[in-house]
Symmetry: C2
Subunit: 731 residues, 2 copies
């Protein structure tokens, strides 16, 4: 029976991989017909891969040491070590493939946008305002081959459609690789161990790599970003992504390192751990007090949910991607459903925003239908309870996403009031952003509480755990939408650096923007699931450690709570400091180059981009160690010194402040970012005004909030909990 | 027997009152011989008292409503309502008297400094650089009578000694009134109720008033401060406390409203609740499992500790104050102790910093000796355990104070590195300050944990509770030192507005500065005790509600934890927003006056200060309602809706994030403040440089952090816990 579970998991994991592979084949076919674009794309590609290679070479010994310790630990041994290493490997591989594909898609996206533009616009811009052209000689020697655009819908639509296709292909490969490797890795671990408890070490491996990748990636990208912006935009007054700025390449590499590799590892970890937590609880759970444990039914259900999620995601992706294999046939089938005819037509006519939204909704709809059927198949008499648990989680996650969007989008009054506070300077921008972030913890926390209570009431802790699985089951498509954003963003950077016509940048900006609302929903699910998964892992820990109560009237538990509550603060402090330090070195370097390299500002001399890449790389790698190791070492220490109840308290405290700080930092950062953009759109005196300068301060403060510390906190709380769970036999 | 406890408590409470009264008589004797100083002093006095009157008239109905609800509540009734009202009254009275005295001391301090200066400096400055003199006619019509200074030690020393005497007299009256009213109020409640549990309503009354006073005062002072600074210093480029600035009077009133009335109510609450928590636990505690409860011994011990603390504080104050009644005799006695001869001589020679430090140490030494003797008297065989519990708490508190000082003083590298980050602008100043604040939670939390574990190990939860009492027992002198700072600060403001010679301002600045290190120690004790008191109250709640476990594996408790953890974030957000809004109106008003009142900038027309005072008052009163009511309503709601275990979880969560956020906000704010001062001292290009501008942004952000939200959080967590404790019979 359990072999059947392994088999199904493997098949659907392979299916995801197969889809990714065929999309990749299609992607490879398209060529970049513009030498400068191709060159920049390959520079970014190489920088990103070099960073990843270095990062993994730093992490390998860490993984090795932990594996040896696991082998040596009484009650754990080879099985746990194997699962741990496999988890780390799968996470690293997912990051690697994702980064490889993404950095191969950005230049293609740029070119697709360029190729889609009407002929008269293309060459004109070549000799436009700017006089800087670093590679004029090379660029002019090869003729620029630009295919004719199909004159169908309208100018933007055709070009945007082309570019969307490429960017989303890249994104969907990242998404499918993550879920595919997740399922395949889980299947293999389960096959070799056949022990749900030991299996959790797979999650520990995934979480460790994720934390390092998030923190390292976050430091890399923000150091480069802040360095490039502060010296380039603010001090030297040159535009964003200007090729004279030596930190621009590092900045573009950083977008991939942080947003692709970091986010991929993050979602891999979330996905895998939500499934593992549900399996661990499902194995011992029974619907009635003292009744028969669900056993394999409880283990199998989350796996089947995930498997069905892969199928749903693939169908969703096929709704969006015009050129994916069989996509046409899938759309034809769906178009025959009642009411879907017009929908499919609108997508095929090239409405990109609508396509992204519909794809996600179709996947979500399929997922809900599948959950309903699976609930009946697995838990006949309790099917409704389980189904409603999952649904409550999914609904809570979606509302969290919407609330997050309302707090952080320039379309609503919150961000607008942050922007308005720029009238009285930077200090009030900071205060209003901080206040907004703190306030934004309210509704999401209440929704998490509500979903926890409902799921628990319906199906106990198993309900809470499967609610988290439900939230993440369509990670395949949510991550595709999420990852396509940075690809489009990067494509814009390349367009700027290659001095392509402005229209190209407009298309990529447009593409970047239309994914945001859809991506916000995915982020809401990620946040909600992080809290629920952490709670489920926490309960699994107390089961594994044979704790019958973690009583907060016990002073050891109180002490644990306080220490646990403190850790996210220390972690944030370390992350922010790391970014500041790294950005500081970057600023010094860019200033030095502007000062010391003659002719750099006139575009006559090339900036030394490599030096900037090195600085970011070095900073990211050296600074990720302390926060990463702290996350693993402190729970272990507390467990040994103060006992397993105190460790339980620590996890509780860390979850509480971790969830709050994650929401606070992500939303403050997001609000500052969009307040700045809102002003740049022309409100409150617009770009270049004192208002804008005040908003830029907010945005800079927000960078490490939303891209380094904030998202890493979601991993932190799960990593600490899964470490406790794996090591439970020791305490 | 219990009447004896009441009697002793009353006697020592009265002793504190008597000391305050006699010092006040002395203070009244000194006259202000400078009309402008006298006038400004009385304007500030009237503004402050008017605010307090208005605030109390807003709070009276609130107190009335809660009292009626308490009478109506099953299981509570008249006794609780009586204690609640008495607690509120005592707190309000302490605030009233403190404010009355402080605003009567500031002008006297200014004049004392002026009078102590050598004759040749006095008239010279009258017609110095500045040409602005609003009340020239009045000022010139009356002859300025300035007594000759005694030419003893040196110029600064004589003047500073004079001023210190007056300012510290004011401070010590505030300190003694707070502890005196605390003990008298407790004694009367105990006398009428003879029920330790019902007595806790006294603490609830004190806490409610404290929260409103802190939040209201914090909003008032920061609105005025930010308004005065942003428009006056930054936009108009006139100096601080310049009489042309209409918000300056409000700013000086605000210093009293926030730092005297707010801090007084805060420490009254801490003092009273630490004693109450220890009494409540002491009544039912037994040293051995199943042994006899301590009963009256457990109730009496904290009261005796507090009583002895009053005596120790008075002796300490007499070491500092030269002119207090019997002070000479007390110093003579202490001077005869081995090694103390030189110490007393140095104090009497006028070394102010040394005097403050020694006074506090003498009080601390007496307190420790007294604790040792009381421990033996009360708990013969367990005396050492109790004594060490108290000592561990006191030591932890002192170290927390020192650590706080290291993180927030310009003498150490942390603040210096915040100042250094001004090289790269405001954003990096903000980031480094935030990071510092988050990091600064580490050591204090570990010390609180350590002290909790040690006290608990030695004498159970009773040990933890008495450790908090020990930390606060010398509140009399710590608050004296604390309160004398704002008096000196205000004296400086008056000197500036009266255009006295620069030397006067130098003296007051010096006085303000030398109290800081000593005050930091007091603040450390306040923070540490807040955490321990909250824990003790929490345990008392679980006793009162008959909860046998608050298990964080129970989803209701988890939900409680999450909601509780969220509340401090919402609370901070509301406070910061309130300050921003109020500051916004103030900025508009000051700008309007500068624009619309002709001749205001030339000093020919008087600014409309009253309008600014009204704005601050109105903002403070309207904005304090929501956060204050939330703190009381949410625990009640959760208790009724989700049950008493969930309420326990809520309290736990609130304590955890409350302690972290309080440390974070207070220390970030303190660090920004001192980083700005550090730059003003001439480092990093000094005043007026871009570095300074960046540091001012940090300071402005820090204002609501350190003076509104941060300190209020310490009250918030205790208020919520004591509300739960009082209402425990209902759940």
């Amino acid at each position: 029976m359990w072999l059947f579970l392994v088999f199904v998991t493997l098949v659907f994991g392979a299916l995801a991989g197969l889809y990714a592979w065929t999309v990749y084949q299609k992607l490879e076919e398209s060529q970049i017909g513009h030498p400068r674009v191709a060159e920049l794309s390959s520079i970014i590609h190489e920088g990103a891969m070099a960073f990843l290679k270095k990062e993994y070479s730093w992490l390998a010994p860490f993984v090795g040491v932990v594996a040896v310790l696991l082998i040596a630990a009484p009650g754990l041994g080879l099985g746990s070590a194997f699962a741990f290493v496999l988890g780390a490997l799968c996470s690293a591989t997912a990051g690697w493939i994702g980064m490889y594909v993404a950095t191969n898609s950005n230049g293609r996206t740029t070119y697709a946008a360029l190729a889609g533009m009407p002929a008269e616009e293309k060459p004109a811009a070549k000799s436009s305002k700017k006089s800087v052209d670093l590679d004029k000689a090379e660029a002019d020697s090869e003729p620029v081959v630009v295919p004719e655009a199909p004159k169908s819908e309208g100018i933007l639509s055709a070009a945007a459609g082309n570019a969307l296709e490429v960017a989303f292909s890249g994104g969907s490969i990242v998404g499918m690789v993550v879920v595919g490797l997740g399922l395949i890795g889980l299947a293999f671990s389960y096959l070799f161990l056949n022990d749900v408890t030991a299996l959790t070490a797979f999650g520990m491996g995934a979480s460790s790599i994720a934390l390092f990748a998030r923190v390292g990636g976050g430091i890399y990208t923000k150091a480069a970003d802040v360095g490039a912006d502060l010296v380039g935009k603010v001090e030297a007054g040159i535009p964003e992504d200007d090729p004279r700025n030596p930190a621009v390449i590092a900045d573009n590499v950083g977008d991939n390192v942080g947003d692709i590799a970091g986010m991929g590892a993050d979602l891999f970890e979330s996905y895998v751990n939500s499934i593992l937590a549900a399996m661990a609880i499902g194995a011992v759970y029974s619907f009635t007090q003292g009744g028969e444990a669900l056993g394999l039914w409880g283990i199998g259900f989350p796996l089947f949910l995930a498997a069905w999620g892969v199928f749903s995601s693939i169908v969703g992706c096929m709704m969006i991607s015009q050129k994916a294999p069989y996509a046409g046939k899938v759309r034809a089938i769906i178009g025959k459903l009642p009411g879907m005819d017009g929908v499919v037509k609108r997508i095929e006519d090239g409405d990109a925003a609508f396509a992204l939204r519909t794809g996600t909704f179709v996947a979500g709809g399929l997922m809900i239908a599948g959950t309903f059927i699976l609930s009946i198949l697995f838990f006949f008499s309790n099917s409704f309870s389980v189904f409603l648990s999952v649904t409550s989680g999914v609904i809570a996650g979606i509302i969290i996403g919407i609330v997050t969007e309302i707090y952080t989008s320039g379309d609503y009054r919150f961000v607008q009031s942050v922007a308005a506070s720029s009238d009285t300077g930077a200090a009030t921008v900071i205060l209003s952003g901080l206040s907004l972030g703190m306030m934004s913890t309210g509704i999401p926390v209440l929704l998490i509480c509500l979903s926890t209570l409902i799921s628990y009431y319906l199906a106990g802790m198993f309900g809470v755990a499967v609610a988290a699985v439900g939230m993440l089951s369509i990670t395949g498509i949510s991550l595709s939408v999420d990852a396509y954003g940075p690809i489009a963003d990067n494509a814009g950077g390349i367009a700027e650096m290659s001095e392509l016509p402005e229209g190209v940048r407009k298309i990529t900006d447009h593409l970047d923007a239309i994914g945001n609302t859809t991506a916000a929903m995915g982020k809401g699910l990620a946040i909600g699931s992080a809290a629920l998964t952490a709670l489920a892992l926490f309960v699994a820990y107390s089961q594994a450690a044979h704790i019958d109560k973690i009583d907060i009237m016990n002073p050891y538990v109180i002490v644990g709570l306080l220490i646990g509550g403190m850790l996210p603060f220390i972690f944030c402090s370390l992350s922010i400091d790391a970014v500041s330090k790294a950005a500081g070195s970057m600023i010094e370097e860019v200033r030095r180059q502007f000062r010391e390299i003659p002719g750099i500002m006139e575009g006559k001399a090339k900036p030394d981009s490599n030096r900037c890449v090195e600085i970011s790389t070095h900073a990211a790698l050296t600074q990720m160690i302390v926060p990463g190791v702290m996350a693993i070492a402190v729970p272990v220490l507390v467990g040994f010194l103060l006992g397993k109840e105190a460790l339980g308290g620590l996890l509780g405290g860390a979850i509480v402040t971790g969830v709050m700080m994650a929401l606070f930092m992500a939303n403050s950062g997001g609000a500052w970012d969009n307040a700045k953009k809102y002003i740049e759109e022309g409100h409150f005196n617009g770009k270049g005004s004192p208002n804008h300068a005040a908003a830029v301060v907010g945005d800079t403060v927000g960078d490490p909030f939303k891209d380094t510390a904030g998202p890493a906190l979601n991993i932190l709380i799960k990593l600490m909990t899964v470490v406790a769970l794996v090591l439970a036999p020791l305490f």
